[in-house]
């Protein structure tokens, strides 16, 4: 297993290397060059020349690239133009917010999606089935930011049940040391702070989780439908096994394989969705930070973000592959 993981990581290196070359060339191809991007379009030629010298933009491309990749390997993602702080530091303080949001979205999507898809397959052609098919179709086609607007309007503005934006009520004055606000509240024993942070997570979490939910429902339904007619299920019935055992150990477990893949694939969607959801709910995670970076043309942040996401994405995919062999011992990670 360890060897397999090592091999997968080794395979990842050329991809990330290629990505870093593309990103490097991208910044160099910005209109007016990187110095203009740093200083703005009205910069004087002297200032441009000074920045070029300072950052080494006047040196040969190959030299520049090696400097860049060398820094990257040491974890130096550059400094944000907008905030003046190191990019990695900015991510570190905001990433927990996005992780919290993604966890809530995933719990919602899996917790409802798998049982609903399963129920739809069990009652194939009945009401549960039809409604789950229609609901999942709607879930797939509704843009996440539109859904966020609907939730915000109904639950926060119209009925005032949940907070409309932010991560926590600033009046609570909570202590933060991990930047996972809910966890912070639980660890310090500030229950009201944890609860408040949790309430702030519900609406964005539901909005973000709806599309993955719809997809998980569909895949679970299709997969269970296929599995429950398999020969080994018939054999298990013929053997006289209890229906409950057949359902949990034979059907559900075997049907889970494509579902796990799908959940893994959803994480890319979740990260993209987080950018949009965080914008609507003024939720201060990396998604919103990225949006500000787009507006301010903060290219070190954009560059760092893309590398960061690519690595994260690759790790997630590896974890998904490993989880296969746990669910289905027949599958050997290759």
């Amino acid at each position: 297993m360890l060897r397999v993981i090592g091999k997968r990581i080794a395979l990842l290196i050329p991809t990330l290397f290629g990505l870093s070359v593309l990103l490097f060339l991208w910044v160099r191809s910005l209109p007016g060059g990187p110095a203009t991007a740093l200083l703005g379009e009205k910069a004087t030629p002297e200032a441009v020349a000074r920045v070029n010298e300072l950052y080494g933009f006047d040196r040969p491309l190959l030299t520049q690239y090696f400097t860049y990749i060398g820094k990257l390997l040491q974890g130096d993602f550059g400094v944000s133009i907008n905030t003046g702080r190191p990019v990695l530091e900015e991510f570190a303080t905001r990433f927990p917010a996005t992780v919290e949001l993604t966890i809530v979205a995933l719990i919602f999507a899996i917790g409802i999606g798998v049982p609903l898809g399963y129920a739809a397959a069990r009652h194939y052609g009945r009401f549960v089935d039809h409604s789950s098919v229609v609901l999942s179709l709607i879930g797939i086609t509704v843009p996440v930011f539109f859904l966020a607007f609907i939730f915000k309007y109904l639950f926060a503005i119209q009925w005032s049940l949940l907070p409309p934006d932010g991560r926590q009520n600033p009046r609570i004055n909570a202590t933060h040391f991990t930047d996972f606000y809910v966890l912070d509240g639980l660890l310090t024993g500030e229950w009201d702070a944890a609860w408040d942070a949790f309430l702030h997570l519900i609406l964005p979490g539901l909005a973000l989780g709806t599309i993955p939910l719809a997809i998980i429902v569909r895949i679970t339904r299709a997969s269970v439908l296929e599995t429950q007619n398999a020969d080994y299920v018939r054999t298990a019935r013929a053997k006289g096994l209890m229906e409950r055992t057949i359902r949990s150990r034979f059907i559900l477990r075997n049907a889970m394989l494509p579902v796990v893949t799908t959940i893994g694939l959803q994480l890319g969607l979740l990260i993209s969705g987080a950018v949009l959801t965080e914008t609507v709910f003024a939720f201060n995670g990396i998604g919103r930070f990225l949006r500000d970076a787009i507006f301010g043309l903060d290219y070190p942040v954009l560059q760092g973000f893309i590398i960061f996401i690519a690595i994260l994405y690759a790790i997630i995919n590896l974890l998904v592959d490993i989880s296969y062999s746990i669910i289905d011992p027949r599958v050997r990670v290759q």
Binding site: V144, F146, I157
Partner: protein, 313 residues
């Protein structure tokens, strides 16, 4: 075979390659079309798309005002925005800038469909080029192209589009190119794997035996027979393209005036007025969702119609 029969009426959907034809006399595409016509889901999708297409084409006639016009500038105050039916002449009310909401929705259909179609066409063309090269040549060409595709796939689709649009600068073309490029990897992979699965077929072997050149075999035998999944994907991608285009302009990319008649942009500026004028967010949002639903319904029925597993029934 069918070559001696006179062409059937409406046979324009007939396949370009005799190899596609099945023994029954109906071609794959004609058969798929017949099946689509019987599928209510496909009809619903086609009707939705047809309606939006009509609205988009007839926008200059249907819309009471121009897309960027602000006829009701004097009617709005910082705290009030007239809603649907509240003042005469504006059936759906005004927006924050004083634009007529109905007109903007109509012009928005034009903008969204145009972006969706152009970007998908770009993605399809680029993806097919890479896919044909990779699937047709194999060997190191295949390797190089697929590694490049891997790099593009290492970043989630929408974020890839966001970063490309951010480089290209503030223009509507940036959005089209960004979304198009972000779709290239999917099409390239799909076409390549579809071509690889066709490669071992008997008709390819037959063509090779006849001494046809590799180029001819790839372009006129392998390619047409591998297009099924790609066309299904293209239909489904139109839905994502419309949503992604809205997402990009919602995030502030794509340039143009703040009051531009574009569904995603309308949502950006609806954010601040959500409590006093929710219709400004709901109507454009619903338009995006319905358009995407139309393409999804159509794409999924097409997939079913072309699927050999369900085709026999």
């Amino acid at each position: 075979m069918s070559a001696i029969l006179p062409p059937a009426v409406g046979g324009s959907a007939a396949p370009t390659d005799p190899a596609i034809e099945t023994g029954g006399g109906t071609g794959l595409w004609k058969d798929a079309f017949l099946r689509l016509r019987r599928n209510p889901q496909a009809i619903a999708g086609a009707v939705i798309i047809g309606l939006f297409l009509l609205v988009a084409l007839l926008a200059p006639i249907l819309a009471p005002y121009g897309g960027n016009e602000l006829p009701g500038r004097t009617e709005i105050t910082p705290t009030t925005i007239p809603g649907p039916g509240e003042i005469g002449g504006y059936p759906l009310g005004l927006d924050r800038f004083g634009g007529d909401l109905l007109s903007k929705l109509i012009w928005g259909a034009q903008a969204s469909l145009l972006i969706g179609v152009v970007s998908t066409a770009l993605g399809l063309a680029g993806g097919m080029l890479l896919g044909v090269l990779a699937g047709g040549f194999g060997g190191w060409v295949d390797n190089v192209i697929m590694r490049f595709v891997d790099i593009l796939l290492s970043v989630p689709n929408l974020l890839l589009a966001v970063s490309i649009a951010a480089i290209l600068g503030q223009s509507p073309y940036a959005i089209m190119i960004a979304i198009g490029v972000s779709q290239i990897p999917i099409f390239a992979r799909l076409l390549r794997s579809s071509m690889l699965s066709q490669r071992g077929s008997d008709y390819i072997l037959a063509a090779q035996t006849l001494g046809l050149s590799r180029g001819t075999i790839t372009m006129s035998h392998l390619l047409p027979n591998s297009m099924g999944p790609v066309i299904v994907q293209a239909t489904l991608t139109l839905a994502t393209a419309v949503i992604d285009a809205a997402a990009l302009s919602f995030l502030g990319l794509g340039g143009g005036l703040p009051q531009a008649a574009e569904w995603g942009r309308m949502l950006t500026y609806a954010q601040a007025e959500l409590s006093i004028a929710p219709q400004l967010a709901f109507l454009p949002g619903a338009c995006i969702a319905i358009t995407a639903l139309g393409f999804t319904l159509l794409g999924e029925s097409l997939r079913e119609a072309l699927d050999p597993k369900t085709r026999q029934k």
